[in-house]
């Protein structure tokens, strides 16, 4: 027995003092009441007979004082918070790490999910701890991280509020020296844990046919043509799977395929008959235990050429690049002949800018002088591109790290979005309203036009100006949209909760879906799909071979002092009962 509140010597002294006081008080108890009786003949006979024949009569006084001393001892020692390891377990700390990876949503044969089993195991772990055991709960989504506490109800409530997350799981950082760490998992998404971690399995084999890839892409041979690439895989028993692609206009493609175990089916679907909008792919299979990967989303953009007016004194590279662009219907004019036209979708100004901003978006090369543009404040020689934003739509698939620039104008980028910059000056800036993109260097002063990313850049800019783009690809969990102060809408037009962080709009998507970040005329589509073979393979568990950890259950659930006080209360009741009935003295 050890004591948490006192040293052993102090506890011993307390016990001895208490027993001494009780015995002293017992000896000093009130004298017997004097009662006169006519004759003691009969009483003497009764008492002599009882006392001579009953061992109990001889022990009654001893039992009474023993009970009184025991009661006092229990109360006194309970103040010292004693602990008996064999009954209550030792004073320890337990960290419970719950795997909240998406595969924990897999259904099991009893109708529950792996997550529900994990929560039950976590609660049984709470029950296995001793009264002084402190618990802490963490998850692999790094959303939940409680403090150490002995309050099991608090921890139970916390576990009830937790759920499986769609985020990429990571085993949290825990100190294995200060606590026992239990990891409750299906062993699918997280395969490696520190050696001190005891793993508890909730794995059960399951059937699953899931979409492992889905995207819409341009058809290189067909201008403005799009096709859908779909890949599904069977991670369970051989089965037939039904595929469905559906669009906003009621267009639908349905197909049934037979899949053996571990077999992957890949297919490309022509979307020429589909209208602009969200495309939904679904797969149905018998006894599918993991519904999260049975659906995927993509966005099919508008299919129309952009009417573009290039205003230049002559720029062969630019003119050639635009003429080769299948999505561009190009017109070229001299700066002196420039007139704004309602039949133009986009203007490209090469070292020229009109006095008033055009009504349609414009791409500007060089830093021409115009009232609506930032004036040049000097010139920077050989600026080196040090930062650029790959998240911005105009920079997607564009690499500028090795672009050489002879000179660039120095401008003030206030109220502009800088998507590429050197240490001295912004190099590519974007204005949201009016909508224009300006390069602070001319194509002649750089080799940007010779880079493979240049046509992509032009295409991105024109698409950003006038066309819907393909949806950004994201995984379930916390999703970011590269558009500041945007409103997030679901596929059916409902507004979703979002936050602003570092110039991006952040929202939570626990399940696959098609979302749109909307700010004014700007609209950025985000397709949130699981589409991850790591998660879809719900049977790729380490617990196929690893043993699950077990933990000793302790009989007592609270600290020993609680039971000691309880026992003293019971003894007081017994003593009271027996004393008033004169069973004890």
């Amino acid at each position: 027995m050890t004591f948490l509140a006192l040293t052993a010597a102090q506890a011993g002294l307390l016990a001895a003092t208490t027993v001494g006081i009780i015995i002293g008080l017992y000896l000093l108890k009130l004298r017997h009441r004097r009662v006169l009786i006519s004759s003691s003949i009969l009483w003497r006979r009764v008492l002599d007979e009882r006392q001579s024949h009953s061992l109990w009569e001889k022990l009654r006084r001893i039992i009474s004082i023993v009970i009184a001393a025991t009661i006092a001892l229990l109360i006194a020692l309970s103040l010292a918070r004693p602990e008996i390891e064999s009954l209550t377990g030792k004073n320890e700390r337990i960290v419970i790490v719950l795997d909240t990876s998406p595969t924990m949503n897999t259904n099991t044969s009893d109708g529950k999910t792996r997550w529900q089993h994990a929560a039950e195991r976590a609660k049984s772990l709470l029950d296995s701890g001793g009264p002084t055991t402190e618990f802490r709960v963490l998850d692999t989504a790094e959303v939940t991280a409680s403090a150490f506490t002995t309050d099991r109800n608090e921890v139970r409530k916390l576990i009830d509020t937790m759920s499986s997350k769609s985020a990429e799981p990571h085993f949290p950082r825990v100190d294995g020296r200060a606590a026992q760490v239990y990891f409750i998992s299906d062993g699918v998404a997280i395969h490696s844990t520190p050696s001190f971690v005891k793993r508890i399995s909730v794995f059960e084999p399951a059937n699953n046919v899931g979409i492992t890839a889905f995207e819409i892409r341009s058809v290189p041979s067909t201008p403005l043509g799009y096709e859908a690439y779909l890949e599904i895989q069977n991670f369970g028993q051989p089965t037939e799977a039904g595929l469905t692609l559906s669009g906003p206009g009621g267009q639908r493609i349905i197909k049934t395929v037979r899949l053996e175990t571990e077999q992957t089916y890949k297919d490309v679907f022509d979307l020429s008959q589909f209208a602009e909008g969200g495309i939904r792919a679904t797969v149905q299979a018998k006894d599918d235990a993991f519904p999260m990967d049975d659906v995927a989303f993509a966005y099919l953009p508008i299919k129309r050429k952009t009417r573009t007016l290039l205003v230049t004194k002559g720029n062969r590279y630019l003119e050639t690049a635009l003429k080769l662009d299948n999505y561009v219907e190009l017109s070229v004019t001299e700066p002196a002949s420039y007139r704004e036209s309602p039949n133009i979708d986009t203007y490209i100004f090469d070292k020229f800018a009109p006095n008033a901003p055009p009504a349609r978006p414009a791409l500007i090369f060089g830093t021409p002088s115009a009232p609506w543009l930032k004036p040049a404040a000097g010139e920077i020689q050989k600026p080196e591109i040090t930062t650029w934003s790959e998240d911005h739509p105009i920079m997607q698939y564009v690499s500028v790290h090795d672009v050489a620039i002879e000179r660039a104008a120095r401008i003030d980028a206030d109220n502009l979005t800088v998507v590429a910059a050197s240490k001295q000056t912004p190099l590519i800036v974007v204005s949201e309203k009016p909508k224009w993109v300006m390069l602070t260097f001319s194509l002649e002063a750089s080799d940007f036009a010779f880079h493979v990313g240049f046509p992509v850049f032009i295409e991105n800019v024109l698409a950003w100006f006038n066309r819907d783009q393909l949806a950004l690809k994201r995984s379930p969990g916390i999703v970011d949209v590269p558009l500041a102060n945007a409103q997030v809408q679901t596929i059916d037009g409902k507004t979703d909760a979002s936050e602003q962080q570092l110039g991006k709009t952040i929202f939570l998507a626990n399940e696959p879906g098609l979302f749109a970040g909307v700010r004014g005329d700007t609209r950025v589509h985000v397709a949130v799909n699981l589409a991850n073979p790591t998660f879809s393979d719900v049977n790729r568990s380490i617990f196929k071979t690893d043993r699950t950890a077990a933990r000793q259950q302790f009989w007592l659930r609270r600290e020993l002092w609680f039971y000691m006080l309880l026992a003293s209360a019971v003894l007081i009741s017994i003593e009271w009962f027996t004393y008033h009935r004169r069973i004890t003295l």
């Binding site: 004097r34 009786i37 003949i41 009882r50």
Partner: protein, 296 residues
Amino acid sequence: MSTANVTLFDDEFLKKLEYLNIISKRLFAGQLRAERRTRKRGTGLEFADYRAYVAGDDFRHLDWKAYLRLNRLILKLFEEEEDLPIYFFVDSSQSMSYGNPSKLDYARRVCAALCYIGLANLDRVNVISFANGIKSEMPPQRGKGRIFKIFRFLMEITPGGETHARASFKTYCTETRRRGLAVVISDMFDGNGFESALDILRHVRHDIFVIHIASHEEIDPMLRGELQLVDSENNVSREITITPSLLAAYRAEFNKYCEAIESYCGKYQLGYARTVTDFPFEELVLKVFRQGRFLK
């Protein structure tokens, strides 16, 4: 006489005595009263026998007709008629002061009632107060008019001392006494045993009647808790914890004790009546009548 004594034998008590007298007459109507025949030959009116005359005999009892016929002096003998001595042994030990009303008060009333009946029957009534010896003794009384003297004697009895009935009875019986009815009124708490005391009375061939008086406090003690019981007679104390089982054992012991006395009385054909102090004493007296101890 103290106020308490006045209330003990007040007018109501006397009315009860008169009532008992009437009841007793009705119960035993037609039987002889006041004059009791004995085996002794004496000067009574009833002829008993003849015997030869010897010198000194009262020649008034010579049967002259027999002398003429037989020419011998024949003397007629008559039965002696004498009264019945009744001895009331009243226990006045300290234990008799116990109870409410006290056992001694109850004993006084019973004794007074029986004395009155005895006096009314022209019996010779003796009242003896005893404890660890003969404490006081009233000379034999005869005739109803002596009842107040007996009242006074009873009132003057004070409780005290331990009970030692055997020694008391032995002292009394060693004196020359006529045999008679010995009525022992006591709570029967005698440390030396009451059987040996009654043996003394039995050996001198008294007709014995035992009136055993108990109080409710003795039959069913209302005691609880940690107590120091003090014997009223010898002041011996004993610490005790009263439990329900102990009380039950005491009650069983009390019944056993009473049954032992009753069994003894039954064995030697002694009269026995047990009463409680709140039991109407006139009913007790009638019970005594019904056992016929006053009528030989």
